[in-house]
Subunit: 450 residues, 2 copies
């Protein structure tokens, strides 16, 4: 019963497009949910996908377009003229419409907007385009049910039915005063059970969670998750109700943010998925590798500075990858804890407390690892205990420094409003490699004297 | 207006507890949402938190307990006896109740269950405890509104009002047949607009998304996100309706999974957050560092095998951290793309296609990086072009192998039902370090002949 995208299905659809068998295509596609049609379209080539979009009515295709992969959607929209795009936009909710329009090139954008028949719809979209993409304003939709606190329950019911036509799902009814200021909310259940002579002012709930148009998306997600909200109203600078954000959009937002953080930690920028083109992949991955390579140059230079050690203590150079790897791993662990704590808002205590805790932990871990290394070096080096001792002492120091950098850098970045997730991955491993080697050779020089 | 946990607030609460000023405490805490009270409690010490839990009525505290940090909650529950815990459980939804009970030790568990007064509630909880934690059965709640397809709309309204008392939020009304099999769903809106003489069978929507009790949580999240569902019904092996999962639980699930994957990629196992104790932190982090250290031993051994090169080509040993770092970074990039593709179900094409794409990309990236390295080595090494050439050729080969391992390992793990996220982080960087060094020195030996 659940939908599965099989090869047979794709082939069948392709054959029907080939035959231009529009009627059969329509009957066939009608069975599917728009999210399933989007999955099919993502598999087809651009001409085939465009054919289907033009075939189905805009009521259905507007939903399909929204569910498609952004890159595939962009290609299809390039095949449509401004009037055709405007028709799709007409049946979309304002938030989706604004998302689509913001993906278009500047000149098409204006043409599409002027082609929208419903002028209120067009104005709403233009309003939404003003806000930053990841702010509450950029995430919200204008579609909502709004009642005045001075209305009667009966009058409200009639008015509400009119408004409900434009709203796919009614989560809450929002109550405003004469100036449009958000005063509270009302559940459908409350409205139905209230005496019909009552005024809205007597029955609504005054305690309502809301966000400001400028509230960052992360904060909206945090509030909605904390209070288990299915929708949250958005107000402007004057406290006037201007939109609402629904939970399905927030789920998408949470997922995208998590994906982005994960990719940054792995040294992949931009939002590429496994189906990205070669060029997109190179753009997302090569810069990080170049960064790591340049860091590697410095590491070569550092090791080169200690070349005199090679004559009598050449064995030290066997340990450089080990030291670098440990520095990198510890740094990534420390920074990941901080990055996640910042993202989830669970980071408590001062920076100093945090550093002390992390350094204490690293000292403990470092000592245990140093003992293992000392014992292990006996098997690797035989009775050359002074080298084993040198390497072990260096390891503790390197781990301490690595955890210091791993903790400190994301906190600093966050302080300067730079995404702390940048700090994990190649950035932290590369800098820890360099500092790790420098410390290692310096300590070795102090102990062994070369 | 939004709640903020200030130091003043915590101190005020602490002072009131100190004074045993119960009345003021109650009036003060009543203002807050239960999620806010949970935040306050997470800041207090165990005795203070327990004091508040005992002070407030169980209607409120059951919600507070659910919102608390798992570790803090566990400590508070240890201070309550079985009867007190049972009282809390009594006011909880079945899914929350089952979560709490599963955290208790075996002997307390039985005592708590036998102390629950509402026997149906107890039976429901026991049923939920049977299912695996991260399956649909483990995520669902028993609270839902269920109507029979043979009922009339009027009869249904009455029955529904009774059932609604136990359900916090009504998302959908589910329609079943005489055998309890899920047949479809009904929106509150449909029910209100239907003629009162109609039978449910005439008005319900037959097309309903559902999952099986054994469906993994990831799949439930995928379906709910894809179709923008706010709740999904769960059926047993016979297609009978046994529960429903709501979107707020799925958001928590998505967040936890994303956190887990992120941590695994950073070499942190178990679910620790930034406020974990030192012991928890060590348990989560030390094993990965030991793994990396053991891998480091092998790397030392590999480098040691090529000691003869040191006499004439000692400079090669300056490059080992660079080679290891590049192998690690490329491996993490490749595996992250696969792990994320698997998690989001967006991985298309065969394993062979995927490998070819990744290797093609790595060949391109590798060539660009090798050229940079060759040019860079001129500045590092002077006119020793043969070394620069050797290192550059090695780099391309190492990058190719690293991306092969990074792509292949998570696919293999996933095939054998092991979490592919294990493959990113220390596991992949450590193995790539070793193989990278082995290839580097082997190629150098072939070219330079030492």
């Amino acid at each position: 019963m659940p939908f599965e995208l099989t090869k047979e299905l794709t082939e069948k659809i392709e054959a029907l497009i080939e035959e231009k068998n529009d009627q059969e295509l329509q009957t066939h596609l009608e069975e599917f949910h728009h999210a399933d049609i989007a999955e099919i379209l993502d598999e087809l080539n651009m001409e085939e996908a465009t054919y289907i979009i033009k075939l189905l009515d805009s009521e259905q295709t507007s939903e399909v377009l929204m569910e498609m992969d952004e890159d595939d959607r962009e290609k299809i929209l390039k095949n449509l003229n401004a009037k055709e795009i405007a028709e799709e936009i007409e049946s979309m909710d304002t938030d989706d419409a604004a998302d689509i329009i913001s993906e278009l090139s500047e000149d098409i954008k204006t043409q599409v907007i002027s082609n929208i028949q419903d002028k209120t719809h067009a104005e709403n979209i233009v309003e939404l385009l003003k806000y930053e993409e990841n702010s509450a304003g950029g995430l919200m939709a204008k579609e909502l049910i709004r009642v005045n606190e001075n209305w009667s329950v009966t009058g409200c019911m009639t008015e509400m039915r009119n408004q409900a036509e434009n709203v796919t799902r009614v989560h809450s009814i929002y109550v405003v005063d004469n100036k449009g200021k958000l005063k509270g909310r009302l559940s459908l259940k409350d409205l139905i059970t209230a005496p019909s002579q009552a005024e809205i002012g007597d029955v609504y709930i005054r305690n309502v969670d809301f966000v400001d148009v400028h509230t960052p998306g992360e904060e909206v997600a945090r509030v909605m998750q904390k209070y288990d909200l299915e929708a949250i109203p958005v107000v402007d600078e004057f406290g006037r109700l201007v939109g609402r954000i629904t939970v399905d959009d927030i789920i998408d937002f949470i997922r995208e943010e998590a994906d982005k953080d994960y990719q940054l930690a792995a040294g992949i920028s931009e939002d590429v998925d496994s189906n990205a083109t070669l060029t997109e992949m190179i753009r997302a991955r090569l810069p990080w590798l170049i960064l790591a390579l340049l860091g590697g140059f410095i590491a070569v230079k550092v090791a080169g500075t200690f070349e005199p050690a090679m004559e009598n203590f050449g064995v030290l150079f066997f340990f450089t990858p080990l030291i670098a790897a440990m520095a990198g791993n510890v740094g990534v662990q420390s920074s990941a804890i901080i990055v996640q704590g910042l993202a989830n808002g669970t980071l408590s205590g001062s920076v100093i407390q945090r550093l002390f805790k992390e350094l204490g932990l690293s000292l403990l871990n470092g000592c245990i690892l140093a003992i293992i290394l000392f014992v292990g070096s006996h098997f690797l080096l035989g009775h050359d205990y002074i080298i084993g001792f040198t390497v072990s002492i260096s390891l503790i120091t390197v781990i301490l420094l690595a955890s210091f950098i791993g903790t400190f850098v994301p906190i600093i970045l966050n302080h300067y409003k730079i995404d702390p997730a940048l700090a994990t991955g190649p950035f932290i491993t590369t800098s820890n490699d360099i500092f790790g080697l420098l410390i290692f050779f310096t300590i070795a020089k102090l102990i062994l004297g070369f």
